[in-house]
Every structure is written in C-alpha cells, then in structure tokens.
Amino acid sequence: MNLERLVHIDRRIIYLLIALGTTIPLLLPIGLPVSSTPPVERLFDKIEGLGQQEVVLVSFDYGPTTAPENNPMAQATLRHCFTRGVKVVVVALFPIGGVTMAGEILEGVAGEYPDLEYGVDYAFLGYKDGAQAAMKQMMGNAFAEVFPQDFFGTDTNQLPLMRRVVNHEQIALVVSFSTNIIGEWWANLVNAQYGTPVAVGTTAVSAPKYYAFLDSGQMLGLLGGLKGASEYEQLLIDAHPELMTIYQQAGIYTAMKGMDAQTVDHAIIMLFIIFGNTVYFLVQRRDARRKQHQA
C-alpha cells in the first residue's frame, strides 16, 4: 500500500464527507442527548425565577451572517419568557440587520402565544445606532429618550408596558444576543455601572473571550454557539414539556438539530485527525526501518 498517498489524501474527499455530514442530520434528525453547563443553567434559572411583572430586556446585537447560531438562542429565551409570562422589551443595536432579525424572531415566537398582547406583555422598540451611547442613555436615563417611538411608530409612552419601564431600575435582566463586541459592552458599561444582571448569547467564536467577563462576575450567564443554544432548548423542554411540540416539528430549524449535524461533522474531523496521525506514524516507522536497513 502506498502510504504517501494516504498522507496527502485529496482534500475533496474531506469536503464531500463534511457536506454529507451536515445535510443528512438536518433532513433526518438523530436526536442526540444534550447535557447542560453552569453558564447556561445560570441564565435559565434566572428567568425561571422571575416574577410575572418583572421585565427582561432582550437586545438583538447580531445580523444574518450568524443567524444559524444566534437565532435558536433568541427563540428559546423569548419562548421561555413568554411561557412564564415574564414581560419582554426588545431592542436592536447591531447595525447590519439586527432589527430585521429582531422583527422576524419576535413575530415568529410571539405568534405561538395567541394570548400575548403587544404593548402589555412585550414591546419592540426598534434599532438605534451608536450602541454604547444608546445603552447608557436608555439604561441610565430613559428608554423613551432613545426610542421616542417603538418600531411600529407608536409613541413609546403610549405603550402600557413602557409607561412602567423607565430605565434600568425596572429591568430585572438584560439578555444580549451578540456576534461580537456589543455583548461585551452590555457587561462592561451596563452591568458595571447599574448592576443590572447581564447574560450574553454569542457565537462559538466569540464565546472564549466572554469567559473573562463570566469570571469577573460582570456577566450572569453565557450561551456559547449552537451548543449553548441546544443546552437552553433542552432545559426549556425539561422544565416546560408543553414546548416539546414546537421543538419536534419537522421542517423547522432548531439548535438541537443543528447540534446533531455539528456532532457528526466534529466526529468526521476528529476521525480524520486520528487517521492522519496513524498514517503519519506508520510512515515514520517505515522510514526509520529503511534507514536501519541501509545502515
């Protein structure tokens, strides 16, 4: 057997396997079990412990490029709040598509709860540029200063919920779904200045740097990538089995399905690494033997 050919295997074989490993689990879900980690549990427990009159501020700080990771976490968190009757204020601070994501997700999830009343149970304030300044102003002074009108053009002060919610004093928790830096600002500026608990759902790429904030206590919880989102979905289903029907629908995308594809792809990559090293080891041994023979 020619070992060299295995060492320099055509990369297109890897590409093909990855393509299959991604597509097949999406079409035929496997349903691998998921266990949760403390950073996710802490956010879940926080929302699970909120009273019905308490308010969660949800900030959409990501755009379409990271939607596969961020969407499921935003959906799960909103479902959790709505299921428990916790009030939600939604804003978007990400310039490239943040408000679109917020609109689509909110419309979809709120549609699952026909009893919800806009303006009473939740409010959608829209997008504001200059995230840092906007954060400080809405949390420090008043939401209505930053968003005089909600996304639909209604005066913010006309919404019953927003008459009650002035600034950080009425916010029990901030959850930011963030691609990159904006989640950090929530922890850095808002938590540091007003003490409001902040949790961030972010992409797997950005998650490592958020550990520092988790460490320093500036952040209450952290959902990292699809793994974090699928953990949250699992916790949600365990605590509220009635949501099972939503999560088991065919033809909708959930973090758990995505996680199946993830797992298969990871397995493929790791098997290739093991394979590569085995072949490498064999080549080394063969070369060493040849040298001995020649000597």
């Binding site: 691998l32 079990p33 266990s35 520092a212 996680m259 797992t263 990871h266 290739f272 394979f275």
Partner: protein, 235 residues
C-alpha cells in the same frame, strides 16, 4: 522638500498629538477645553467622510483594470464584463438613490414601503454570495485540521491535544466518551471550560498586553515621523 515631506510630517505630529492630549482632558480644561468635545465628536465624522471619498479611487482602479483586461483580451477577460456590469448596475442604483433622481427615492425601501431594485439585488445576489463564501470555511477548517494536526514535536502535540479536547468537549460526543464512569459525562466539557478559562485566557492576555505595547510603540514612531513607509519620500 518642505511641502512633500516636512509638511506631512509636521501635520502627523500635530494631528497625532491632539487626540492624545484631549484623551486625558474634559471640556472644563482651561484654554484648550473647548477643543475637547470638538475632537471627540467632530473629527471622527470628518475621518469617515474622507474614507468615503477614497472609495472612488478604488472604483477608478477597478474600472481601469477591467477595461485594460478586456482591451488586451487577457485570460478570463469575459469575466471582467460581468464584473463591470454588476458594478455599473448596482452603483448606478446607489448613486441615483443618493441623488434622489426620478423614481429612485430610497436606497433599500421606496417611500411607499416597497423594496427597491437595489434591495432586490442585495437580498438575492449579494447576501447569498456572502453567506456561501463564508460557509466554505467549514470545509477549509476540516482540511486544515486534518493536514496540520500531526504529532510532530512538543509544540504541535500541545496544539493538537488542545484542539482535540475542545472539539470533543463542545459537542455531545465529549459526554459519551467517559459516560460509563459515574459523573464521567461531565469531564470533557469541564476540561474544555478549564482550558478556555485558564491556559487559553493566559495566552490571550499575554498576546494582548504585548500587542498593545507594540501598537503603542509603532504609533509613537509614526507620530514622531520615524516610521513613514506610507509617505514614501526619504530625506
């Protein structure tokens, strides 16, 4: 020599020192106080405008290059036509919307709330192309991992081990590996979290401190006029 070299260098020194000095001050500082909010709020917006003008230089370079390619029938010249067509159509929509000419009254949405052609092309051509290119990374990361992660020496082995553990620990796979031991399903996720929070954080912190000092040093060299590759002219 003064105009070509000294003037840019003197400007560099002055313009570079201004944000540094005002960084530490407020508008209540005597004499130069009023300059502080000006520097913080206005100058930044000036810079954005200057950058905006630069885009046209790029466009000219692209158009010249493409036309040359077509004229000289260089390999692949027909693709220069598709490039120019895309640029022309999209750019024209953009410019006309900016000038509010005729029916072009908005860039993405028309006044009546309907989508503009610019938006249609963004959504159906530009965005899918971006997302497709971005998603190629999944394939590339797999082939890079296969090729590069070999037990060659100590460094390469550490790299491989860390990557392997984290890959395992971030998916349900990591839970199965030791699940036959009591509590074992949490081991790899915990090791992953530990790697991220301790040695990885240490390495990142070291890089950040070093890089920030390096950047500050380079900044100082630029302000002092020692580093001026971009200005060209030597004394």
């Amino acid at each position: 020599m003064f105009w070509k070299l000294r003037l840019p260098l003197l400007l560099t020194l002055f313009v570079g020192a201004v944000p540094i000095v005002t960084f530490f001050l407020t508008e209540h500082t005597p004499v130069i106080g009023p300059a502080v909010p000006f520097v913080r709020d206005r100058v930044e917006s000036y810079m954005v405008i200057i950058a905006g003008f630069a885009l046209l230089l790029g466009v000219v370079s692209v158009v010249q290059g493409s036309i040359r390619k077509i004229e000289r029938r260089r390999p692949g010249w027909p693709f220069a036509i598709s490039l120019l067509t895309g640029l022309l159509v999209m750019g024209a929509f953009g410019i006309l919307s900016a000038m509010r000419v005729g029916p072009f009254q908005g860039l993405l949405t028309a006044p009546d709330g309907s989508d503009t052609p610019f938006y249609w092309m963004t959504r159906n051509m530009f965005n899918p192309l971006q997302a497709a290119m971005f998603s190629l990374l999944a394939f590339y990361i797999a082939s890079a991992a296969f090729r590069a992660f070999r037990v060659r020496n100590v460094e390469a082995t550490i790299l491989l081990a860390a990557a392997f553990v984290v890959m395992l620990g971030r998916t349900p796979l990591g839970e199965y590996v030791f699940s036959w031991l009591p509590g074992g399903e949490r081991w790899l996720p915990q090791v992953t979290d530990w790697i991220m929070a301790v040695p990885n954080a240490a390495a990142q912190r070291g890089i950040i401190i070093g890089a920030a000092l390096g950047a500050a040093s380079l900044s100082l060299r630029v302000i002092l006029g020692i580093e001026r590759s971009y200005l060209g002219v030597k004394e």
